[in-house]
């Protein structure tokens, strides 16, 4: 697991108050929404806000495929890496 992926998992847990699970319980490749972690659109908004705030990124619904960025932790990490220049994986 890359540092960035771990960071994002912690961010998800912290933002959404997922107290009962730890970063190790989230599979980087598993879907975040509906199946998998079972997050919903309200969570997506909160998470989106947190990602924007933490990494200073902007989601542009016209340009970006926001839905696929949020599909999994791995996709989010790649999006953040592309936006900030951090390494997505090692």
């Amino acid at each position: 697991m890359s540092d960035l992926e771990l960071e994002i998992k912690s961010l998800i847990i912290e933002t959404l108050n997922l107290e009962e699970i730890g970063p190790q319980d989230i599979d980087s490749a598993e879907p975040l929404f509906v199946e998998g972690l079972g997050l919903d659109s309200i969570d997506a908004l909160e998470l989106g806000m947190a990602i924007q705030k933490t990494y200073g990124l902007k989601f542009d619904p016209d340009k970006d495929d926001v839905k696929s960025h949020f599909a999994s932790v791995r996709n989010l990490a790649q999006f953040v890496a592309a936006g900030t220049g951090k390494a997505a994986s090692e």
Partner: protein, 564 residues
């Protein structure tokens, strides 16, 4: 419909430049009928000499002056006798730009059932008196046709379907003088003839005498407008049934024109409002309200259904539901008028009474951002404007989910450039909108959002909550935003009380928290509580309800504009 056009030129003592006019029309291939309306010399001989059967130019003479309308009608009759179907009407004084003739004829060819009506564009500007007279005419015509489709009724540069005009002339007492041009257009419109507007350049030619008799013709025109307004009211059902289709101009500058017209119309209304006061404005608006009442079947039914529920909820039904419903429409118009006051910033402290001002003061002192939930009960515009007036320097962000937002914003800006109001259009709140709003709240700004209407985009994001005795859909959106913003939530109602407004500002929640495990129930509870408060204010002032659609219907994918 066949299309064989013929030009008709009525002339009374206009002969300067007429050869040029005739030559130009012939070059366009148009046969010509000139009607000499009892002109004296030298016009008479000059016109008579133009008669040339080989070149399809004929000159008819009225020995007695029968007015412009009389002359045009005579020309049309002659044209129909000769088998023509359409009449290109042009003034003889050369004020119309002949460059527009091909476009005029072309538009008529594509819309053979319509009147193509020139809309003058004045290059050299116009005297203020004339401009004012034109605007007055516009206002009359809007009322008479209950529509903005006729953009100019005075311009005598047109193409008519001949038979339609002769039918009107046969059935109606038409003005035969300068009142002919506007009257025939209105009456054709009433019969369902569409109006196709076309911009034309206009200039005044020196040397030709004006046949406009200032007092006599103005009196005729005024009398004609009164007659038309009363006829309109008497024949309203027929006129509404015959409403013609709208012919759209693809040309871009028309939308700009429309926008400008709208703004000017509002300006004039605001000006009349200040000059005459509210009572007279309402009297002027009465026929318009009547029109909306008569023509708006769905809105009327929605209004009656709502009032019936109010009657049940308060245990005291409206005895005459139809009359109450008309009053409901009228209140809506009155509230709209008050919007002008709100937009122009013309709201003095005396017209507003605050309920619990201390609570607001405490908030503004702390500089804390607030999410205010408003609704379409009472004067929503005024409550928006007032929330700004509460505290100098307070920035209020209004979330709306229609595309009218941009236009509304422009209007506010134009009326009152200092208004610290941002209108933010949101069809769907994404992460960046949410973050932006959160930053605004952190800066101590207010965010205002209506919590009574469900948006199309939010299909599924609503709960049914008990409202006036039956479950109605209430949107989740405002409470989801509240959950994101994590700031105090207040309710904002602005209810009219006689000549004044009372602003109610009540705390709703210190913070909205949607627990993950219990989210849907939390949302249900919040919408239920909001519905209860909304019901309270509806019972307080039943006729100030601004939702003229079936409020209790489960949302489908209906277009937003179906909502009143």
């Amino acid at each position: 419909m066949t299309f064989s056009p013929c030009a008709v030129i009525p002339s009374r003592n206009h002969y300067l430049g007429i050869e040029l006019l005739v030559a130009r029309l012939r070059a366009e291939g148009l046969p010509i009928i000139i009607v000499d309306d009892a002109s004296s010399e030298p016009a008479r001989s000059t016109l008579a000499q133009l008669d040339n059967e080989d070149d399809q130019i004929s000159v008819i003479r009225n020995d007695v002056n029968r007015g412009k309308g009389g002359a045009v009608l005579r020309g049309i009759e002659a044209a129909v006798d000769r088998g023509f179907s359409h009449i290109v009407q042009i003034d003889a004084d050369g004020q119309h730009d002949l460059e527009a003739v091909p476009a005029l004829v072309d538009l008529a060819r594509h819309n053979p059932d319509a009147v193509v009506s020139g809309v003058p564009v004045y290059r050299d500007g116009q005297a203020i008196g004339r401009r004012l007279a034109r605007w007055l005419t516009h206002v009359w015509i809007w009322v008479e046709t209950l529509s903005f489709q006729i953009r100019d009724a005075m311009c005598g540069f047109r193409v008519y379907p001949a038979s339609a005009v002769l039918e009107v002339a046969r059935d109606e007492p038409l003005g035969r003088w300068m009142d002919f041009d506007p009257e025939i257009l209105v009456r054709l419109f009433w019969r369902g003839v569409p109006i196709a507007p076309l911009p034309v350049n206009v200039k005044y030619i020196e040397g030709n005498p004006s046949n406009f008799a200032l007092i006599r013709d103005n009196w005729r025109i005024t009398r004609m407008h009164f007659r038309l307004v009363f006829t309109m009211l008497a024949r309203l059902p027929t006129i509404l049934r015959n409403r013609p289709r709208r012919i759209r101009q693809t040309d871009d500058h028309w939308s700009e024109f429309e926008e400008r017209g709208l703004y000017l119309g509002l300006r004039i209304l605001a000006w009349i409002y200040q000059l005459l006061g509210k009572r007279i404005c309402l009297a002027i608006m009465a026929p318009v309200v009547l029109y909306f009442y008569v023509s708006g079947g769905a809105q009327r039914r929605a209004s009656e259904a709502y009032l019936r529920r109010i009657g049940q909820a308060r245990g005291n039904p409206f005895r005459r539901l139809r009359l109450s419903s008309f009053k409901h429409f009228f209140h809506f118009a009155a509230l709209s008028l008050d919007k002008f006051a709100a937009w122009t910033g013309d709201v003095s402290g005396e017209t507003i009474v605050f309920e619990d001002l201390a609570a607001i003061d405490r908030l503004t002192e702390r500089g804390e951002g607030v999410l205010a939930l408003c609704s379409h009960q009472g004067n929503v515009e005024l409550s928006r404007a007032m929330s700004r007036a509460l505290h100098a320097g307070l920035v209020v962000n209004i979330l709306v989910h229609t595309k009218h937002a941009a236009r509304f914003n422009r209007l506010i800006q134009k009326f009152n450039p200092e208004a610290g109001v941002n209108v933010v259009q949101v069809t769907e709140v994404g992460p960046d909108t949410a973050l932006d709003l959160k930053q605004r709240i952190e800066r101590g700004e207010w965010v205002v959002i209506a919590a009574d209407r469900t948006a199309i985009a939010s299909a599924g994001h609503y709960s049914m909550a008990e409202f006036l005795g039956a479950p109605a859909p209430f949107p989740h959106g405002p409470f989801i935003i509240a959950n994101l913003l994590k700031c105090p939530v207040y309710l904002l109602f602005c209810i009219r009380e006689g000549a004044r407004y009372r602003l109610y500002f009540e705390p709703f929640a210190d913070q909205v928290r949607l627990a993950r495990s219990n989210r849907i129930n939390d949302l249900k509870a919040l919408t239920r509580r909001f519905a209860q408060r909304l019901e309270h204010y509806c019972l307080l002032a039943p006729l100030q309800w601004g939702n003229f659609y079936d409020f209790w219907a489960v949302p489908s994918n209906e277009p937003e504009n179906a909502k009143g």
